[in-house]
Symmetry: C2
Subunit: 300 residues, 2 copies
């Protein structure tokens, strides 16, 4: 477990960089910093609210350790007694419904039985589908993945499709991205390279989102589009509270609830059997919320 | 399993009575009826939206049967291969923040191994605590319980405290009520009596809530009180999506998602680290969100 402190300090620096870039893009609101210490460890939760472009966003850094409960063991998929973990998780909810919701997570786990691994992902949840934006997003992720391992993008893209999925709605959360877990050093990628991979994803995250914010935050939108955003946020809440492993693990390990749930939007709505008009942008968006779309080549 | 059809038909009648009473109280909006049929069974979802007093409410009736998956087995706490179930579940979200959210569930399960039981509960979630209202509510529940068994109220009140609890917030959902599960015929209460008990609870539910609506729906409220209502609704969403067994069982058994999630409010909000002013009504409400308050005798 010699590496945990080393990685934790790099992730802590990365968190600050992410916040600085995003608040510069927002231009109005800044991140408040909330340090927390609990029995399980400590963290820094940076929150931006009521910005010009970002309605609510959180960038969480934490460094925790403790005993492994049966439920955690199941979530982790491995046998061990004690774990240490450090990571960053972040979600941004925009003001403008034409801007997508974005999510980043990078994490490192070490166990007393010698196991250690990285995990993480970036995924995008547009309220309104924009094929060119989805393609560019997946291309950006592929470019990063390919620097480390040709198999990463195809493997992690598929993993993202499966992970960011809402079974009871038979919908993906958005247009996916990448997701990976239990990523361990091997012949192809040593430990330092895997660490660099996660850090490069963390650096790409605010750049990618800043581009989107700059492009679309000033777009006009109607009350109907704002309402649709609220309904899509409702789905986001369903995914995070019912399925997201990070949320489950955090709450189960008695983490800081306010920090874990900073991922939730400032508002959301649910309307019974809400069905968009056929061929409306809302309707067309729903057609794209499915697995196995080859976004790199879609519509090219 | 001879009883299932018999009980299902009584519950179906009860659902209609509940809707008629509540829509008469609302006076503006009425329940729409949505029949659904899936592989697992069928149901009728009655939904009221944008009423004068009720902002959103659902009364679900269902009659389902199927094979038992490992996750369902864990939720049920018993070994069997096949189940039949019928029940009513209902939640009402009021327009006025001074009116509480209310919830009813009654259910009957029968299994191929001969087991059968009733379950259910009624609980109240005020946005603003009203001690007299809480006391009257618990007294009404006790009166019904005592007609069947002296041990029901004390036992089921405690069960409600434990069940309607949000561990990650260290808060109860509201002021509780009663909750019971795996209630089987014994020397004290035969099958018919237990069925009557659940039906009496179902009949009491719209009467109890109508009284509250009539008393408080015209109360004035401020934007700040409305905002607090949205935040409390956020907690309600957290409970329902993370902890509620009925929601889990419904989604796991591939039930009708729109019907199951009609329990969610039309809108909710989350604000990072929202902390009410000391001694404000919001603050005082939080002080009451804990287990083991003897509401029957509180403040008497």
């Amino acid at each position: 477990m010699k590496n945990v402190q080393y990685i934790a300090s790099q992730y802590a620096d990365l968190q600050k960089k992410i916040c600085r870039i995003l608040e510069a893009t927002d231009g109005k609101s800044t991140f408040t910093e909330n340090k927390w210490i609990k029995e399980i460890g400590s963290g820094l939760t940076c929150v931006i609210q009521q910005g010009e472009a970002i309605e609510k966003g959180g960038v969480n850094y934490s460094f925790v350790e403790g005993s492994i409960t049966p439920i955690m063991e199941k979530l982790l998929g491995g046998k061990a007694n004690h774990f240490s973990a450090t990571g960053i998780s972040s979600i941004m909810h925009p003001q403008n419904p034409h801007v997508p919701i974005i999510h980043l997570n990078i994490r490192y786990f070490a166990f007393d039985n010698g196991m250690e691994w990285f995990g993480g992902g970036i995924d995008l949840t547009p309220h309104f589908i924009d094929v060119a934006e989805a393609r560019a997003f997946h291309n950006q992720l592929k470019t990063i993945c390919d620097k480390y391992n040709d198999s990463f993008y195809p493997q992690f893209k598929k993993w993202g499709d499966d992970y960011f999925y809402i079974p009871h709605r038979n919908e993906t959360r958005g247009i996916g991205g990448i997701f990976f877990d239990r990523l361990m050093p091997d012949k192809k990628n040593n430990f330092e390279q895997l660490l660099d991979f996660t850090i490069e994803l963390g650096n790409a995250y605010p750049r990618i989102y800043s581009e989107m914010l700059k492009k679309k935050s000033k777009f006009n939108f109607t009350d109907a589009e704002r309402k649709w955003q609220q309904i899509r946020r409702g789905r986001y809440v369903e995914f995070n509270l019912i399925y997201d492993h990070g949320t489950k693990f955090g709450l189960e390990s008695n983490g800081n609830a306010e920090s874990i749930l900073v991922s939730l939007p400032s508002s959301a709505s649910w309307e019974y059997n809400y069905t968009p008009e056929v061929n409306s942008p809302e309707y067309l968006t729903l057609q794209f919320l499915r697995k196995d779309i080859d976004w790199l080549n879609y519509g090219v």
